[in-house]
């Protein structure tokens, strides 16, 4: 009897946890497991605001896949996914193709522009290791250029963050914390640096407790951040952003953080999707495809309590991965009733730079040092789930 082929697409939070679970639960003779990823490393998407602002080495956010997964049990293919052909049960890669019996799609997300022109051309929108390194070096380059200008152009030192959601707030938290140090290093008067967070929605951090939102905004404003809430951006241009009002803010640096959409591979492969996300069955399979599981940011799941989709978070991706691994095992054993996925939101913490953070754990609100401690514990817990205590020691964050 031929061993079934399980193909995992993407080595993000979802793909990595699925891979560790399957490799532990299945014996060598039970299945061929193949993981496909663009890079030979996994990285922590939720940490990227730190290297992007230059407050953490990008090396701390990534790890070689072979250092975490047992590549005797999992075959790793470094390649980019072009298309999934569900009829033929094939995945087309840039440099080859793979047949599957079971497919797990964890291809993550891309920046959502909401049709605003100029985002891809003039804003930094890639929340990847490469993207974060580019933002960091771009920012430092502006500081370094400023004093060499005969006519000082203040827009070099104007930083716009589009979007006051989780990513935008965490990024401006790091950047605003770092600005005094950058000013000192590059001999820039502090008042020359302008930071804006521009948000189309009527509040920053929509969905967060209003008291926590106020705490975060006050803290960031005290560090010199100016919020423009209820203020849609019409266009990103070579010289800055144009607002819906017609006003322009000149800035050499625009960081795009208005949220994400699922991978474009989803639509290219003919799945029915909303902004690259597939509304999955309760067992995480794609509707009409009994052998295809969708996890992480490509999966759309409705929170029945508020009748809105769950946000695409690492926490949910990892929980999906555990259910997905179990369901593949059940399918392989010929089971017909699979497990229903039920997220268990343990808490949400947003870091604000330095020792500051806000968060909710259970029904409890956390501020400042306490929230910061919790944030680091969450980051370390993921490392522990993925690679055990060794990985925590190697890449973890000291919570004190």
């Amino acid at each position: 009897m031929k061993k079934p082929s399980i193909v995992l697409l993407g080595a993000g939070y979802g793909g990595m946890i699925t891979a560790t679970r399957l490799s532990k639960q299945l014996g060598h003779n039970e299945a061929n497991i193949t993981l496909v990823n663009k890079h030979d490393y996994h990285y922590q998407t939720t940490w990227l605001h730190e290297p992007a602002a230059g407050t953490l080495s990008p090396e701390r956010t990534r790890m070689e896949i072979k250092s975490v997964l047992d590549l005797n049990k999992i075959k790793f293919v470094k390649d980019s996914v072009v298309e999934i052909k569900t009829d033929a049960k094939k995945v087309i890669l840039e440099n080859g193709e793979l047949d599957y019996d079971y497919l797990v799609v964890g291809l993550g997300s891309e920046a959502e522009t909401f049709g605003v022109p100029g985002v891809h051309e003039h804003a930094f929108s890639k929340w990847t290791v490469n993207g974060a390194r580019e933002v960091k070096e771009h920012i430092e380059y502006q500081f370094a250029r400023y004093n060499n200008m005969t006519e000082k152009r203040d827009e070099l030192l104007t930083f716009i963050v589009a979007g006051a959601g989780f990513t935008g707030i965490e990024f401006i938290g790091e950047l605003s914390e770092r600005v005094p140090e950058l000013c000192k290093h590059y001999d820039i008067p502090r008042e020359k640096v302008k930071m804006y967070v521009i948000e189309a929605a009527p509040t920053a951090l929509p969905g967060f407790d209003p008291e926590l939102v106020e705490y975060a905004m006050n803290l960031l404003e005290a560090r010199g951040v100016e919020f423009k809430i209820n203020c849609p951006i019409k266009e990103v241009t070579e010289t800055g952003v144009t607002l819906a009002s017609g006003d322009e803010i000149k800035a050499e640096t625009v960081v795009w953080a208005t949220g994400v959409r699922g991978s474009s591979v989803i639509e290219k492969s003919g799945f029915e999707a909303m902004r690259g996300r597939i509304k999955v069955e309760p067992d995480l399979r794609a509707p009409g495809h009994d052998d295809v599981f969708i996890i992480g940011d490509c999966a759309l799941l409705i929170n029945e309590e508020i009748n809105r989709p769950y946000p695409p978070t690492a926490q949910i991706a990892m929980q999906m991965a555990e259910t997905c691994a179990e369901n593949i095992k059940l399918l392989m054993k010929g089971g017909s009733s699979l497990k229903t996925f039920k997220p268990d939101i343990k808490g949400t913490v947003a870091s604000l730079g330095g020792k500051e953070a806000i968060g909710v754990v259970g029904t409890r609100k956390l501020f400042g040092a306490q929230a910061n401690f919790m944030k680091k514990m969450i980051d370390n817990r993921y490392l522990f789930l993925l690679g055990g205590p060794g990985l925590v020691l190697k890449k973890g964050k000291n919570p004190l």
Copy 2:
């Protein structure tokens, strides 16, 4: 009787050593000493190839003037010199003016373009703290951008150094030493990085011993540097350089290091000068100006042995400063015969990155670790002359 006013322009090697000598040799009641400088810090011009390549923090190359000079004895004015009016014995500053009885001009140098178009617009030519920081951040930015490009533009990773003199060689030495580390950090295949040193003269390091030049070139070539000797540059453009042959080398980074000319203030003030340098009297005074001393890169001095000007080095600037301080004291005491300046070239060492260097001390040729040791000793010796053992401990280099 009115105390004479001694005004020192520029806080480079010459100005700083003149200031320390005068403040030690003259009592409070003997003279008013004023030092004018654009920044409130002094920096080590000869170290700037290191922060420019990113192998040393720029902070290590600079020090606050107040931390080195006794500002109870010397009045410090932070301002830029616009013009010297010798008839009125006045110095015009951007924000004021100063009268002098004795003037010491140590305004240093500017990049010499030799009339090549595009240098100021498209090349990095400022060997200053601000300039070095800009080059470093520019380089890192190119590495960071590369992997984010849909179509990889290899000119992002092409680095051209114009000029194979001291500065050009020392800079490419640091950069070539750092490239493997940059490639690792930014996930760039090493072979993607191209480094060129382009020199119009028929040899690299003109004036250096040929055996040492060969050692340096072999070493740098082994690190991937390509030399184009006897190869004048016709123009620097937005996309790279055009050679006299008409060939173009595409590069996002062109570092200009073909040598220097004296400060433009010299010509603006009506002194007779060759490329901003005044051919000084043997006692270092400007011809026809009994109260104006010219030291450092603005002074032109012929080495009678080879009938060519001495190169503008830190070593000579410092020795000029000592003679200058003595001559001012002699003038103040009504002396008519001043001391003749005679340089005492103790040695010359060029660093090549890492633990590598070449040099001549006396008649002895030095290579590798030995030359590197000597280079660091020279750097530390200057710190000792300027600020004693405390400054060596604070800013010095470990020679081992």
